[in-house]
């Protein structure tokens, strides 16, 4: 069952929005915008079909109706603009824009900041007063430990299609090395920035020790950044070790992980509460490395 404020809000958006479309608007599109089911939308349209002055004539009513799978508004009366943003709407916009407003990427930060100011100017009275104060109590991550200078150079390289000369620490192999990087995009996942190379490989920005823009340019190939972002969200990185198995808390389970080094870090972090069962070679490597580490601490200092 819909709540009264939801129905009021939906009506006040629905009428002016649909009135702008002489051929009506598909129910499915409206349900997406209004976060409701087709049945809820149909009920709402039925309930508000008689809105107008209680003692007025039929031509003073808002005329809204369903025809097939489209909603039509023939007479919007004076409902020609949607209401200004409510507290929740303003808060949602501020929260969604927060990671960009605070990003170390200069162009994005400036655009997001300017847009936020303009949105606040058109907020409703209460939303304009309350939402900025509330947003200081509801915070979405800014950047991680990336160098702002590196992010700036990466942003320039992506925009101007310029190659970078980079020194990068590959955690999976535990190696610091120099490489040429032609970045086609930047992704922020869980508050951490990644650069995407023209071969689709991802690089954690905090792991660049040095970055220098070169004069060499490149033609970016078609790379599906959204697919890479989804892969990163799921933690499915290249060189992933799929066959790893751990026993944690007495329970044996698969533990696919980014790399052998990440696997060792995980086992050490459990401080004896986790046992690496497979692969056998990696188990032995972990034991050997742990013995070597322990030897350092058993030497007197």
């Amino acid at each position: 069952m819909s709540k009264l404020p939801d129905d009021l809000t939906r009506f006040l958006f629905l009428v002016p929005h649909v009135a702008q479309h002489p051929d009506g608007v598909p129910v499915a599109d409206l349900c997406e915008q209004l976060s409701c089911t087709p049945a809820q939308l149909r009920r709402l349209v039925e309930r508000v079909a008689m809105v107008g002055a209680p003692d007025g004539g039929p031509d003073e009513l808002v005329e809204i109706y369903l025809e097939g799978d489209r909603v039509h508004v023939a007479l919007p009366q004076r409902f020609t603009r949607p209401p200004r943003f409510t507290v929740d709407e303003m808060l949602a916009l501020l929260l969604a824009l927060a990671p960009l407003r605070e990003a170390a990427l200069p162009t994005l930060r400036e655009r997001a900041g300017a847009l936020t100011d303009r949105l606040l100017e058109v907020a409703g009275e209460r939303a304009g007063e309350v939402a900025p104060a509330l947003v200081s109590r509801l915070v979405i991550q800014g950047d991680g430990d990336e160098s702002p200078a590196h992010l700036r150079d990466l942003e320039i390289a992506v925009r101007e299609r310029r190659v970078l000369d980079a020194e990068y620490y590959t955690a999976g192999r535990d190696v610091l090395g120099r490489r040429r990087l032609a970045p086609v995009g930047l992704l922020q996942v869980r508050g951490e920035w990644y650069a995407v190379g023209d071969d689709g490989k991802t690089f954690k920005v905090e792991r660049f020790r040095e970055l220098a823009l070169t004069d060499e340019t490149f033609e970016p190939p078609a790379i599906d950044l959204e697919a890479i972002r989804r892969r990163l969200v799921r933690g499915q990185l290249e060189g992933r070790l799929e066959e790893a198995r751990l026993r944690v808390g007495g329970e044996e389970r698969p533990w696919p992980t980014a790399s052998t080094h990440a696997l060792r870090r995980t086992v050490r972090a459990h401080r004896g509460a986790a046992e690496l069962l497979a692969p056998a070679a990696e188990r032995q490597a972990l034991i050997d490395e742990t013995r070597a580490l322990l030897a350092r601490y058993e030497e007197s200092r």
């Binding site: 209401p83 509801l138 601490y297």
Partner: protein
Amino acid sequence: MDRLERLLDLVHVLQTAPRPVPLSALKDQFADYAEGSDEAVRRKFERDKAELARIGVVLRYVEDEEGDAGYFVDAEATYLPDLPLDEADRAVLATAAQAALADPSFPHRRALRLALAKLGATPDDAVPEVHLAHGAADDLPEGGASRLEALGAALTARKRVRLRYRKARADDATERDVDPYGLFLRRGAWYLVGRDHRSGETRMFRVSRIEEATPNTKKPGTPDFEVPADFDLDAVMRTSPLRYAVHAPVEARVRVDPDVAFLLERQWGPPDADGVFTVETTHLDFLVDQVLGLGRRAELLAPPEGRARVAAALRAVLEAHGAEEAAS
């Protein structure tokens, strides 16, 4: 008459009338306002006015020069003016919205969709080279998103919440009342910060470890607490776990290989000429975790207690792998 219909009729009447409409005239038009005493009708009208204010419809009361008085819809304060968005604005908005809408734990997702629709924007025009992902949903157990929403609502209304909370590595959950001061999302995990009535202190709770969150439903329109004026969520969020108040400050020294030392400089400050970092911490165990994570690349040189904890952790790892006998 259905209340939804009454409220919408009221808006219609008050925005189309040529002059402000007194309550007495509304009584003649609306059967719902014609019943009961004057005081009861006034209370009903005030409740309707407040309901409309919640969704942004501003009713004003004025007296004109001829002495007529009444209500009207302040259209300028109520309705969204035209806000032209250029391609860059749309791209920034869409980039932000895509990340938020892809995250089931994002608070006010429905409100965000409607706000975008009001602006005539869609999440499909994102900046082509930049994508965001909050990645917070993975951290939340089943039901976590709705608990987060309940916490967000309690925070907005300043209502106390009873939590069932299970600390990390603890077997049992405990119950406590918390005044929610703030919520933050960092590195894919949501945290609640608030005054914990059990300890009497401001504490941080990882939302994924909250098993139940029950807001106080008594006096829904009245806040249960004030947020202290000096509360700074941003400062809390940016506090390194090394500064969590677990014990008195100790000075630790860590030698790190030059190849990876740059990874730690933003957290620990610069190392000395020998590649040794000096770190003051009130949470030595966290530093021990960091050193264990660095493996062969780092050695905790001091304090001795920290070295002993690293050694104990390594022995425990060997023991778990049946290799302890060859360790020493």
